[in-house]
C-alpha cells in the first residue's frame, strides 16, 4: 500500500529536466563534427603563417610587386578577430621608411586581453618571428610588451601583430604606444621570379618607429558557467570577460596536473591531445584565438582568448580524455 503510493508519486513526479530538443541539437552537432586537433599554439601559428606566406609568394609571383592601396581586408580583420570591434579600431596612419622599406601603422586596437596593430609594408614582409627579431612595443611608461602572434599577407603587404595587453593604468589614461622595428624579413626570400629577388639574405636591417595613441576597450565581466567535470578533472571558471572584440576566459583545474593536460595519446602520427578547448560563435564559426596553460600552487591554470564577432550565445567546448562538455556564454 505505502509502496504503491510512493511508486505512484515517483511515476508522476514533476521536475526540471534538460530540454530534449536542445540536447539533441548539441549531440548531433558534436557527433557530426570531426574531432578537432589542438589549437595551434603560437609556434605552430607562426610556422603555418610562414607556410601560407611562402605559398602565396610561390603561387602569386607578381602579387608583391605593387602594394595594394586598399583598406585592411575584411579577411585579415577577421583573422585579427576585430570584426566585432567596429569603429573602436583606431585609425593611425603613421609611416616610417628605412632601407627601402616603408611601414605604415594603419590601425590599432587594445583591450584588456590583447593589443592589435594593423600595418602595411611595402615591399611585403614575412612574419618576423621570435625571439631576437621581435618588434618592440612600448607605452608611455616605458614598459614593453611581448608579441603573441603575427600574420602577414604577402600579396598586399598587410601585417597584423598581436601583443599582450597593455598594463594598468593605460586602460584609464589611454596609451601612447611606440612600435620599434630594427629588422624585416622580405617576403620574396626564395622565389626566383619575384620582382625584388633576394638571393641569400632575406633580412633587412633598418630603423622603423611608429607611434600612436590608442584607447583601451574595457571588458565587462560575464556570468561564470558551471564547472565542467570531465573524467577525473574539474574545470572551474574563475573569470569570463568580454570586450567588443575579445572574449577572455580563465579557469583553474582540479584533478589533473599541468603535465596531464599536455599529454597526447599516440595515434601513429603526432598524437592526439588529451585536452582541447574551443569556442564557437553563435553562427557556428570557430572563435578560438589561442590559449595558454600555466600553473600555480593549487594546480593548472588556463587562459583562453576568443574572438567576439557580435552578441549572442557562444559555445565553449572542452574535451579531456575522451569526455567533452559544452558551456554556453551569453555575450552582450
Amino acid at each position: 500500500m505505502t509502496i504503491d503510493a510512493l511508486e505512484q508519486r515517483l511515476t508522476d513526479l514533476a521536475f526540471d529536466r534538460p530540454d530534449a530538443g536542445r540536447v539533441t541539437a548539441r549531440v548531433l552537432s558534436l557527433a557530426r563534427k570531426r574531432r578537432r586537433r589542438a589549437v595551434a599554439r603560437l609556434g605552430a601559428l607562426a610556422a603555418a603563417t610562414l607556410l601560407i606566406a611562402a605559398a602565396v609568394v610561390y603561387f602569386v609571383p607578381a602579387a608583391d610587386a605593387v602594394l595594394a592601396d586598399t583598406p585592411i581586408a575584411g579577411d585579415l580583420l577577421r583573422s585579427a578577430g576585430l570584426t566585432g570591434a567596429g569603429n573602436r579600431v583606431t585609425a593611425v596612419g603613421a609611416v616610417a621608411s628605412s632601407s627601402g622599406f616603408r611601414l605604415q601603422l594603419v590601425g590599432a586596437y587594445a583591450d584588456s586581453t590583447r593589443t592589435v596593430l594593423l600595418l602595411r609594408a611595402n615591399p611585403a614582409i614575412l612574419p618576423l618571428g621570435p625571439p631576437s627579431l621581435d618588434p618592440q612595443l612600448s607605452d608611455q611608461f616605458g614598459r614593453t610588451y611581448h608579441v603573441q602572434s603575427e600574420l602577414t599577407d604577402s600579396r598586399t603587404g598587410q601585417v597584423i601583430i598581436e601583443f599582450e595587453a597593455l598594463a594598468w593604468p593605460d586602460a584609464l589614461t589611454g596609451a601612447r604606444i611606440a612600435l620599434k622595428v630594427t629588422t624585416l624579413k622580405r617576403a620574396c626570400a626564395s622565389a626566383p621570379f619575384c620582382t625584388d629577388p633576394v638571393s641569400s639574405e632575406p633580412m633587412v636591417r633598418g630603423s622603423w618607429t611608429l607611434r600612436a595613441t590608442v584607447g583601451v576597450d574595457e571588458s565587462t565581466p560575464l556570468a561564470l558557467p558551471a564547472p565542467a567535470h570531465l573524467g577525473p578533472a574539474t574545470f572551474n571558471f574563475t573569470s569570463v570577460r568580454s570586450s567588443l572584440a575579445t572574449i577572455g576566459i580563465e579557469m583553474s583545474v582540479k584533478g589533473a596536473t599541468f603535465d596531464d593536460l599536455q599529454q597526447r595519446v599516440a595515434d601513429g602520427r603526432k598524437g592526439t591531445p588529451v585536452f582541447t578547448i574551443d569556442l564557437f560563435a553563435p553562427n557556428g564559426d570557430t572563435a578560438t584565438a589561442s590559449y595558454s596553460l600555466g600553473e600555480d600552487q593549487r594546480g593548472p591554470l588556463i587562459q583562453f582568448l576568443g574572438y567576439r564577432f557580435g552578441p549572442g550565445n557562444y559555445r565553449l567546448h572542452i574535451s579531456y580524455r575522451g569526455s567533452d562538455v559544452d558551456r554556453l556564454l551569453t555575450v552582450p
Partner: protein, 179 residues
Amino acid sequence: MEAALTLSDAATAALTPDELCRRYAPSVCRFAGMIAGSSSDADDLAQDALLRAVRAIHSYDPSKGSPEAWLWRIVVNAGRDSARRRERTRWIVERLAFTAPRESESVEAAVLARLRDADLHAQLRLLPHRDKTLLALRYGVGLDTAEVGAAVGLSTDSTGKAIRRALARLRARLEVTRP
C-alpha cells in the same frame, strides 16, 4: 557516424543518430533530470549519454538484445561515471545522512500526502547513485523490472529486490526529513 542500427521491433527501420535522439532523448533527459544533482549536471549527463550512444551506434549488435537495452546500458554507465566524479567529495555527507530503512506506513502516508514534488525529488537525489538509478529507470523512464535489470546488469529477481530496497531507503529519508 551515419551507421545504421536495425531495430528489433521494426526490422526494416534503420536507426540513424537523428532517429536515436528523436526516440530516446526525452527519456534520457528525464532520467538525467531525475538523478543529477543540478540542472547543469543533468544537461551534461544527458548530452554525454546520448553522445556516447550516437558515437557507438555502429557497435550495436541486434543479436545481443534490443536497442533499448543497449542504450540504457550506455546511459547507466554515463550516469555512473558522472556520479563517481561527484561522490568523491560528497560521500561523507552521504554517510552522515544515511538512515537505515524503517517501515512506518502511517507516518509515510502522512508525509507523502503533504510532500511537494520538489522535496521528493531532492530526497531522491540524495540517495546512493545505484538506488536513484534504479528508481529513475523504473519510475522515471518507465522500464519494467527486466529492462532495468538488463541496463544495470542484474537478474530480474535481484532487480526487483534492489528496487524495493531503494524505495525503502527513500521512504526512510522522507521520514527523517518530514515537516
